[in-house]
């Protein structure tokens, strides 16, 4: 609860009367290098066909606060336009489901369902919207917040470096995305934080456009 409070605080300055406005100009895909534009466009075209996503994941977190790397295993479900679920099975049971503006979460320690309005919780909103953007393949729209470099063309590997004066630039140094050979979906996402923390997210057994069971959108204990 205390943390939820911290998150709430992040948007508390909504009515405040000061502004540290961004001064950077508006860049659109028209400002991109032709080859990058071509790659992003191609990837976006392929991912735009995705209506539903069901995938297992392995998340390796190397955080300064932990002595050892932490490995999380779980499932991700996505159904466009507004359903998203993140279920962790190991090392502890944790579920997070987003339906529109409402985020519901449950964990095995508290065993309680907590509901949060995303519009009232910008920290979550930012994190979730970033995640959804990655998972949904909205790459051209990311060019406003990131400078993008093509690391490899086969399979495609892109490096996203946050632009200055964006909120992610405070904490993230870079995000590397490696696509599957068929380019229909992501294979891995590697997030390098400024504080030397890092997270590697690997997608396993990814199923695209398959019907998703209703249970995917329920916050409940998952079988380990």
């Amino acid at each position: 609860m205390q943390r939820a409070l911290i998150l709430l605080i992040l948007f508390l300055f909504i009515p405040a009367n000061y502004c540290y406005a961004e001064t950077s100009g508006i860049k659109t895909h028209k400002n991109l290098a032709p080859d990058l534009y071509e790659v992003l466009h191609r990837l976006e075209d392929k991912t735009s066909e995705i209506r539903t996503l069901k995938t297992e994941f392995v998340q390796e977190k190397e955080l300064a606060v932990f002595k050892k790397k932490i490995i999380l295993k779980g499932m991700i479900f996505l159904q466009k336009p507004e359903l998203f679920a993140w279920h962790i099975i190991e090392p502890l049971s944790y579920s997070m489901v987003i339906k529109g503006d409402i985020l519901s979460q449950w964990d095995e320690n508290t065993k309680k369902i907590q509901k949060i309005s995303l519009s009232k919780n910008p920290a979550f909103q930012i994190a979730i919207s970033q995640m959804k953007d990655w998972f949904s393949g909205k790459y051209t729209s990311m060019t406003e917040d990131y400078n993008i470099i093509i690391l490899k063309r086969n399979p495609v590997s892109l490096k996203f470096i946050p632009k200055k004066n964006t909120i992610v630039s405070n904490v993230i140094e870079s995000v590397t995305v490696i696509f599957r050979d068929d380019e229909r979906y992501i294979h891995q996402i590697y997030i390098k934080e400024k504080s030397s923390n890092s997270t590697l997210l690997t997608f396993v057994n990814t199923q695209l456009n398959t019907p998703l069971e209703a249970a995917a959108w329920e916050v409940q204990p998952r079988v380990r």
Binding site: Q2, I9, V65, A123, E193, N197
Partner: protein, 802 residues
């Protein structure tokens, strides 16, 4: 004696009538030119009762930081476009706005520095955490407390949003700063806007609207500046793409709109009134010379505006709006003189026969306006001065200038009309009572009873907003803004004043402590909750140092090390907390480095001249307002501003004010009428139109689903002044059997007044409309009573005494 002076003056003007005419023409030309330099005042304070609390509240609301701000609410009109498109357009618009009319544009919060700022503020925890919170921290520094906190932290690190909250958890492993953060949350939620932030921009919950808050140096009461600002903003808004609509939400818009509405109303009413007056005189009198009757009140009003402006410095628009009504009243004198001269054989004798009722009629009307000088409303003083001056000028011109320019032709249309119908209409009232007299009195009694029954449903509207005649588009835009952005009603404000910030903060703390017990901590949003006075912060720091240096720091380190390994936490996982334990122990006056503090200060602190005002906010509900008013009573340097309480206070002030003025006016009317007629029965008869007119107003207003307000009450007093004139003339005529066409003159007087006030029914401004409705209903029934009811009563009641 009076006759002597009158004849001498009348004669000397007659001898040099052309010189007087030239002089009058010169004055008129000067007055018309002078109109251009008149400065009008749109300040609502002019129309408020002189109650210190009312003034203070209104002034506070006007001068508060929020009232001068301009808000632009921008919305997507098509679902084909996204929030990103909206933000792009808002960015462009923001860049296009600038000095001198816009000094700052707040589009949202740049999230990039937010985390750092929050962490920076938390470093000041030693100054902000009080004794009670230290006790709570102490309770957590034990194995179970630390274990529970670490378990929570571990879980938080595994959530998808962990990247953003890691720095917070590392800086506060026990969550001991949560009270600071909770206070901040409460403080900001008290504003009542429902806003999210996207890419650093204020976005509505439906993600289809964005908001820009503009700072402007243009004062709300500055009509010219407001017009310039609104025009500038409208021009800038043109750069927005077609799929975006924009609404301006600003007090300045009301200033401009009210000015426009009143100006348009005045123009419209003057045109309609002028046309109607001219048409009436030409049709009835068939004499172009009769136009002079219309010109006299018009000129009197114009000259009065100039003189009033010279003496009073500034004139309210509301008062000028009354110009048509004053012209309608003042034209009566010219009508009586004109009718008498045209019908009578000698001009001088005709004027002489009506001069006394004319002067007494004017005096009763003047007495009504004079009673306004007893009011504490400055605007009423202006109205009284302006009206009395207009009436005196008009009366003087009607008596001394008009008769010399009335040409008696061979065929006198007016005389012919009066002769034709006058024998019937102007029959001697001394004849035996007729059967229909009793019927008329019965009908009158039924009408009075019906109106009195209807008047029971009358309600009084004291809302300040009724004075706002802004165009419907502005009101609609504000309603739309409320539905998109606002989730709460405006809070009440508790204000602490001090010579210095420290002095005000000291009192503010005491108030906060008391308010928490009577209003509740959750309901009272105070700066004291997050930023106490320097004195308190020093005490907190001393306590904090003592607390941690008693071995608690070591104990907590040990516990975290012991139980942290169960959760795989590294040794330095929470080092930021221990590193900053004493960082914020240097007590400054104000933490200049913290931008968050600046934001808080802007919301809670207002610097005014040599005073500092610290504000706190709480729900504007009677129980809380009453409780806080009791607290305020114990602190002379404090006051509270509640919109609800202000409305009720205004209602009380206006009611008592009107009762006083009505009483004074009623006494003055009665005394003056008695003085002229020197007969209590005749006075009672003369008062019939007054009683009928006022009762009709009281019955008509609820009948048309209107409510009574201060301006309509003032108009009701004007109705009394007019109706008593009709009563006096009719009673005077009945008694003296005058052959001066009194009925015709009274009828024309009533028609002109009805035209003057009737045109206000076409006005858009609610104040002018309510004035029009009151005068039309009152004068119409007052006139009917004077023409029909007075003669019947006279014949039934006074025939034997005469």
């Amino acid at each position: 004696m009076f006759d002597d002076y009158f004849f001498r003056l009348y004669g000397s003007i007659q001898r040099s009538k052309w010189l007087v005419a030239v002089l009058a023409a010169a004055i008129i030309i000067a007055a018309v030119i002078g109109l251009k330099s008149i400065s009008f005042d749109n300040n609502i304070e002019l129309m408020l009762p002189g109650n210190d609390e009312v003034y203070r509240s209104i002034r506070f609301l006007r001068e508060s930081n929020l009232s001068d701000k301009v808000i632009l609410s921008l919305g997507l009109t098509s679902s084909e476009y996204t929030t990103k498109n909206l933000i792009d357009a808002v960015k462009k618009l923001k860049e296009s706005l600038g000095p001198p009319l816009v000094t700052d544009v707040i589009s949202g919060i740049s999230e990039n520095n937010l985390v750092e700022e929050m962490l920076e503020l938390l470093k000041y925890a030693p100054q902000l955490i009080d004794k009670q919170n230290l006790l709570l921290i102490e309770k957590q520094i034990n194995p179970s407390g630390v274990k529970e906190s670490l378990q929570n932290n571990y879980r938080q690190f595994l959530t998808p949003a962990s990247t953003l909250i890691i720095p917070f958890i590392r800086s506060d492993p026990l969550g001991i700063y949560s009270n600071i953060l909770r206070s901040l949350q409460k403080i900001y939620s008290s504003v009542g806007y429902e806003v999210t932030v996207e890419n650093g921009y204020f976005i509505s919950k439906d993600r289809k609207h964005a908001m820009l808050i503009l700072d402007t140096p243009v004062n709300l009461t500055d009509g010219f500046g407001s017009r310039k600002l609104i025009s500038y903003l409208n021009d800038r808004l043109n750069i927005l793409p077609d799929f975006i609509t924009a609404d301006i939400i600003a007090g300045h818009l009301h200033t401009v709109s009210n000015e426009d509405v009143i100006k348009r109303d005045i123009r419209l009413t003057l045109i309609i009134a002028s046309a109607a007056f001219i048409l009436l005189f030409i049709l009835v009198f068939r004499d172009f010379g009769a136009i002079i009757i219309f010109l006299i009140p018009l000129v009197s009003v114009i000259v009065s505006i100039n003189i009033s402006n010279l003496i009073l410095n500034k004139l309210s628009y509301f008062i000028i709006g009354m110009g048509a009504v004053i012209a309608g009243i003042a034209v009566d004198y010219g009508i009586h003189v004109y009718t008498a001269v045209r019908i009578g054989d000698s001009g001088q004798e005709a004027v002489n026969s009506i001069v006394k009722p004319l002067i007494i009629g004017a005096l009763t009307t003047i007495s009504v306006f004079a009673s306004f000088f007893f009011s504490s409303v400055q605007g009423y003083h202006q109205l009284a001065f302006f009206s009395i001056l207009s009436i005196i000028l008009c009366l003087a011109c009607s008596l001394f200038i008009l008769p010399h320019f009335i040409i008696k032709g061979k065929y006198n249309r007016l005389k012919h009309t009066v002769k034709k119908y006058g024998e019937h209409l102007n029959q001697s009232p001394l004849k035996e009572p007729k059967t229909h007299d009793k019927f008329i009195v019965l009908c009158w009694a039924i009408f009075m009873i019906t109106a009195l029954i209807l008047s029971k449903q009358i309600s009084f509207n004291s809302e300040i907003s009724q004075f706002d005649g802004s165009e419907i588009e502005i009101i609609k835009a504000e309603q739309k803004f409320q539905s998109i952005w606002v989730n709460k009603t405006n809070p009440a404000v508790f204000v602490v004043q001090g010579k210095s910030l420290e002095e005000a903060l000291n009192v503010n703390e005491k108030i906060y402590r008391e308010a928490k017990t009577v209003v509740g901590e959750d309901n009272f949003s105070s700066l004291a909750a997050i930023w106490p006075s320097k004195q308190t912060r020093k005490a907190n720091v001393d306590r904090w140092k003592e607390f941690w240096k008693q071995g608690k720091e070591e104990k907590l380190r040990e516990l975290i090390t012991t139980y942290g390994s169960d959760y795989n936490f590294s040794e330095n996982a929470f080092s930021p907390f221990f590193d900053n334990l004493y960082t914020g122990t240097v007590v400054e006056d104000e933490p200049e480095k913290i931008k968050l503090y600046k934001k808080l200060k802007e919301r809670f602190v207002m610097e005014k001249d040599d005073r500092i005002q610290v504000m706190s906010f709480f729900p504007d509900e009677d129980k809380y307002v009453n409780a806080m008013a009791t607290i305020s009573g114990n602190y002379p340097e404090t006051f509270l501003v509640s919109r609800k309480a202000l409305s009720s206070l205004l209602s009380k002030s206006v009611s008592s004010e009107i009762i006083l003025l009505s009483g004074i006016a009623a006494i003055m009317i009665f005394l003056l009428t008695c003085l002229l007629l020197k007969d209590i029965k005749m006075t009672a008869l003369a008062l019939i139109p007054v009683i009928t007119g006022i009762t009709a107003v009281m019955g008509t207003i609820p009948f048309f689903d209107l409510s009574l307000n201060a301006p309509s009450l003032i108009a009701a007093m004007v109705v009394s002044g007019l109706c008593i004139d009709y009563g006096i003339f009719m009673v005077y005529t009945c008694r003296r059997s005058l052959k001066t066409g009194t009925r015709m003159a009274v009828t024309l007087s009533a028609i002109t007044t009805l035209i003057g006030a009737g045109v206000l029914l076409f006005a858009n401004h609610p104040v002018l409309f309510s004035i029009g409705a009151t005068i039309v209903s009152g004068v119409l029934f007052g006139y009917i009573a004077s023409i029909i009811v007075i003669p019947s009563f006279y014949r039934l009641w006074l025939k034997n005494t005469n």
